[in-house]
Structure formats: C-alpha cells, structure tokens
C-alpha cells in the first residue's frame, strides 16, 4: 500500500503524478526532452540508459516500463534489454553506448565517482559533449524518479503484457501526453 493516499488504479509514478499535477508537469517535460527530444543518441539508447540506472536502483516499475519502451524502439528485442541490465559490457551494443553506460552507472552511485578517464574513454569512442551531458542528466534524473516511485511505496502491476502495451504507447506518444491521458480521469 502506498505511504500516502494516492488515486487508485494508477501504476507507479502515475499515482503521485495525479496526486500532484504541478510537479508532474516539469517531471514529464524533463523526460520528454531527455528521452525523446532531438538528440544524436537514439531513443532506444537513451531508454537503455534509463532502464540500466533504474535496474541498479532496484526500481521495479521504472526498469520494467522503460525497458518496455526500449524494447519497443528495438523492434521488440527484450533480450537485449535484459543483457544491458545484467552486464552492459558484454551486451550487443556499441562501444560508445557501453562507455556511456559506465558513466551512468557511476552517476547512479554518486556524482563524484565519474572520473576523467571515464569521460576520455567515452570521447575516444565518439561521444560528444552533449551526449555525455545528457547521459549524466538521464542517470541523475532516474536517481530521482526511482526514489520518488519507491519512496512513496507506489503500486506496480506484475503482468509483463501491461508494460508492453504501455511501452508502445509511451514510445509513440511521449511522457506528457500519456500521463495527461491516464491521470485526467482522476481529477
């Protein structure tokens, strides 16, 4: 049961977002820019970073829903999402993405863990300053979203099919649109 009275039937972050629309708005804008906005990183790469950080933070809802969005962008390749969560260094992703995932993993532990060698390695493999910036901010932002979702003990469905449907919807329509649609009925 959630720690506070949240609108019923809304999974994960949607409950607190319906409870407090004033904060939901910037939270969704940030997610849309970081994960879906114009970028030289593909949406699947950015969702994999979000999924990896959420898995390291042991946030079931976030890792499952963003894993589903990533898999949707990857043509349904759920295996690759699992591989990235378990051992990114051995997954079938580019060396550049591996270097960015290493930075994201350091940020998840704490900002000061990122060292200049991590950055130099990513740069050697072709990462731009903006890609490094966005990787750090995605990892930092999911260190927030994960704590928000679990810190209020929100409810998360277990049926993987629900996440596949939601993942497709989020990939196609975006975070602000889907959240607005899902929470409007509770107001």
């Amino acid at each position: 049961m959630p720690h506070i009275s949240l609108p019923e039937g809304l999974p994960g972050i949607l409950g607190p977002m319906a409870f407090r629309p004033e904060t939901a708005k910037p939270l969704n804008e940030l997610a849309d820019i970081l994960l879906r906005g114009p970028s030289t990183l593909s949406p699947s790469e950015r969702e994999l970073i979000a999924t990896y950080v959420s898995a390291r933070n042991d946030c079931f809802f976030c890792q499952t829903v963003h894993g589903a969005v990533a898999a949707h962008h990857l043509g349904g390749n759920e295996q690759l999402v699992l591989d990235v969560k378990r051992a990114p260094a051995e997954a079938d992703v580019s060396d550049k993405l591996k270097a960015l995932l290493a930075i994201a993993g350091k940020v998840q532990r704490g900002g000061k863990f990122v060292d200049s060698e991590d950055i130099a390695r990513a740069r050697d493999l072709g990462a731009t300053d903006l890609e490094i910036h966005d990787t750090v901010l995605i990892a930092a932002a999911f260190s927030m979203y994960n704590r928000y979702v679990d810190g209020l003990a929100t409810w998360a469905p277990e049926d993987p099919e629900r996440y596949r449907e939601q993942g497709a919807r989020l990939a196609q329509q975006g975070y602000a649109t889907v959240t607005e649609g899902a929470t409007a009925a509770t107001r």
Partner: protein, 185 residues
C-alpha cells in the same frame, strides 16, 4: 575542471543551465514548485530539507547555495542551518520537520528505505500527505541535482559571500529566472 566545456564563470548548476537551456527549464520549474511556491511547509523548511540531502550527498555547491537560501529565510540564522546538516535530531526545529528530515534521509539512501513507521511518525507530528509527498520529491530531486552538478565536475567557488548574495536574490525572486540570467555571472 569540468568534464565538458561549459560557459566560464558560472558556478555549479548555472553553468550546466547555460550549456543546455532545454533541460534547464523543467529543472528550474521543478525547483520553483517544490521550494518557492507558497505551500504548507515554509520555504525555510523546504530549503533545509534540500540542504540536508545535499550535505548527505556531499555536494558542496548545492548544500552551500541552498543552505544560504535557507539561512536567508531564517533571518540569517546560518548556525541553525549548520546544526540541521550536522545533527538535525538535536537542532532547534519542529518535531514535524525532524520527522520529515528522517524521511528525506531515507529517500537519499534509496526509496525502499522509507518505512511505514517513518511515515506514521511524520503523520503523528502533523504532516499532511502533501507535505510527505513534497518531502519525498524534494529529497529525490536533490539526489538528481547533486549528481548532475558533481557528475560533470562543475566549478564551485569557495567564497561564502557570493553564496549569500545569490541566496538573497533567489529567495526573493525564485528559480524561474535562473536560466535567463545564467549568462550574467
């Protein structure tokens, strides 16, 4: 030196706001709602929660800048800010704020660390659902801001007078104008 070339002369998160104005906007909007919009918790209480979490995360820039804003709201009481950072259980603050700081500290460790007992204690001391929600989100948001600032190794001045002057401006005007003035160090 920062990990990426951010505009010079802008400390901490302000350099990052200038580097990437698109993300600066929702980051400032969120800070404005959580810290500077009239609510049930005083602005001093909310800035103290932000300062405490930033101190626990060892983020010098965030704990110093928000500590200065908290002190401004407290009529310049920097001593109290120091006490909250060091040992809030024995600081001269309300029992309700102590219970909320316990929750904030748990959120910092990880969302799952918050227990039903922590929340019940805060409710017994008079905290509303909205106050508990905002405490959790302030703590979570500073786990983001702190990682953003330190993860890119931003420049952080040590001179406390600069933080005091800046704090007065932010305390009076809020967070929304920060991206626009990011270029004016």
């Amino acid at each position: 030196m920062a990990h990426i070339p951010i505009p010079e002369g802008l400390p901490g998160i302000r350099g990052l706001f200038a580097f990437r104005p698109e993300t600066a906007k929702p980051l400032c909007d969120l800070a404005e709602v959580l810290l500077h919009t009239p609510g049930i918790l005083s602005m001093a209480d909310r800035e103290l929660i932000a300062t405490y979490v930033s101190a626990q995360n060892d983020c010098f820039y965030c704990q110093t800048s928000h500590g200065a804003i908290a002190a401004w709201h407290l009529g310049g009481n920097e001593q109290l800010v120091g006490e909250v950072k060091r040992d809030f259980a024995n600081a001269a603050i309300s029992e309700k704020l102590k219970a909320l700081l316990v929750i904030a500290g748990k959120v910092r460790q990880g969302g799952k660390s918050v227990s039903a007992e922590d929340v019940e204690r805060a409710q017994r001391e008079g905290a509303s659902d909205l106050e508990i929600h905002d405490t959790v989100l302030i703590a979570a948001a500073f786990c983001m801001y702190n990682r953003y600032v330190d993860g890119l190794a931003t420049w952080t001045p040590e001179n406390s007078e600069g933080y005091r002057q800046r704090a007065a401006y932010v305390a009076e005007n809020g967070y929304l104008g920060i991206p626009a003035i990011a270029g004016k160090a």
